[in-house]
Symmetry: C2
Subunit: 331 residues, 2 copies
């Protein structure tokens, strides 16, 4: 069990998920000696639906994906993915090393037919609604064909999980006009315009947070930086808000009086509610939690996995992709 | 005079700049019939240091740069750049169409020797200090050599304007480890490691707002999206803060009591203080204001231009680049 906090946050998150979902069954994968007492401490009456699978090794956060894949065959991450492969689990949720999780998931589960590369996709909160954004860093380069595949996957995910009939899909670009952007996005725009998807054109970075489209597609380099920059701004604002309220007695009093409002604002913009990025394109469900996730946050990642299992997302993506595969011409 | 508000905000900003800088002389370029009454309304005693140059045409915000360059020869934008070329002005500040400004500035002023492409650079506020970020969208693709040139220009700008002896320079990437990223950033890292610059390695998107390095370099596609995504997050947070404080009588009362604190927070995070992106790499100083700039914001863009004139930024960049140009081998 990885992430910055490990089992001390993940076990209570798991117990919370069991409490919220009466049909849920969980397998906790990690060091049994650590997990057993934590589970005894937090679980109260849900132990019948949870089992522990001992996995002695841990993939470290800065370990190289290829080394982790080669060496860490009894790591919690690998064992959890193997359980999905064997059909013993329907999904895997991890807060560990993203690169290693990707590499192991691709190696063990394999890609869906018609998908070149997986994509990391998450829900972004917006003023007028939520948006699925992908890729967030599964790939450092992509071509237009791959962006097109990301669009198909993001559309199918939104359609399944959010019950949207024809999700609006946009490409992230440096301007909304058709003449803007690099060749990669321009060519992807042509592919999308000629597809069955509800493609609505280019959007700019700020539209990630307006919620005006259901799905925004970008390459993983750009997506990762946009997401991390967003985290940076939020921390910057939060830092100054805290500092100003704490600076004087007047400020501390105002903060006390405003506490219910400040808490309500925090709830509305809380990134923990959106934790749980899914690795799309695999023959199985793998959800990546933020490494720094606490129990509330990690419980949301489990909910994301549950929703995808219920809606059978990989099969839906596979079915959709099958309709797009162009048959080889007869010899 | 362009931008969303045009002369109604730019003229008062100009008058404010004249007030704050006793040696400043300004030429207002635009429709004289519009500018003259506005100037009479706002200027009080500074009219000796301001003149009006009539320019009947306006480059529209969504006009194509090539069309604007070809056709709009008496636009305010073109006339202002021509004034810099002729030496009648030492800098040009515009809130107009970025692409057109870039195209005209390159065509009229030309690039410095050793610079392939201009870069848009701005100051980003951070928790522990400011950072110059470039490129913000002058280019939609860049190679490693161009990223290297951006680093040289950003370093020289910071050194000149912020009086930093050896500014720390980093490359924006999807991870801080050396193995991360695409070929472009990896190759740029090699060039920077072998240079005289104070290159400190890769940083991630959130580091744009920590202020831990002086200069962050990225390609214009990524930089533009990071910047716009940041604007989106800030608007998202501000939207919810406003909504929660306004929702109830209790909230409105709490807001009244907290007003001095909320104002102080706003001052700290106010993007207007950082308005004024410079177009680096040109044989002249051209500063781009945000299109939506109000008078306070636009006045900051004028201050940026003044600082660059005082420190002679283009000459300093040219001198630094000259030391880097490898002489052709003798035949």
């Amino acid at each position: 069990m990885g992430g910055d906090h490990g089992p001390t946050e993940i076990v209570p998150a798991a117990v919370q998920a069991l409490r919220d979902n009466p049909d849920l069954q969980l397998i906790l994968v990690g060091r049994e000696a650590e997990l057993r007492p934590l589970l005894a401490q937090h679980a109260s009456g849900h132990t019948g639906r949870v089992e522990i699978r001992d996995a002695p090794e841990v993939v470290e956060m800065h370990e190289s994906p290829s080394a982790a894949l080669r060496i860490k065959k009894t790591s919690s991450m690998r064992v959890a993915i193997d359980l999905v492969k064997e059909g013993a689990a329907q999904a895997c949720v991890s807060a560990g090393n993203t690169g290693a999780l990707m590499a192991m998931a691709r190696y063990v589960l394999k890609m869906l037919p018609g998908v070149d590369r997986p994509a990391i996709c998450t829900t972004m909160p917006g003023i007028h609604g939520q948006t699925h954004l992908l890729d967030l860093g599964a790939n450092v380069i992509s071509d237009s064909e791959q962006l097109f595949q990301f669009a198909v996957m993001g559309s199918e995910l939104t359609s399944a999980v959010n019950n949207v009939a024809a999700p609006s899909v946009a490409l992230l670009n440096v301007g909304a006009e058709e003449i803007k952007g690099n060749d990669m996005v321009k060519q992807a725009a042509v592919l999308l315009s000629n597809s069955h998807l509800n493609y609505v054109g280019f959007v700019e970075g700020n539209d990630i947070y307006t919620g005006k489209v259901d799905v925004i597609v970008c390459d993983g380099f750009t997506g990762n930086i946009a997401l991390k920059a967003s985290e940076g701004v939020a921390e910057f604002i939060s830092y100054h808000a805290k500092a100003e309220f704490e600076k004087s007695l007047y400020g501390r009093t105002a903060a006390l009086i405003s506490m219910p409002i400040l808490r309500a604002i925090r709830r509305k913009i809380d990134p923990r509610r959106y934790n749980g990025a899914t690795l799309l394109g695999l023959r199985g469900i793998v959800v990546k939690s933020h490494g720094s996730a606490d129990r509330i946050s990690f419980a949301h990642a489990i909910e994301e996995a549950i929703a995808e299992v219920q809606k059978n997302v990989p099969d839906r993506i596979a079915a959709r992709l099958e309709t797009l595969l162009i048959p080889e011409p007869a010899p």
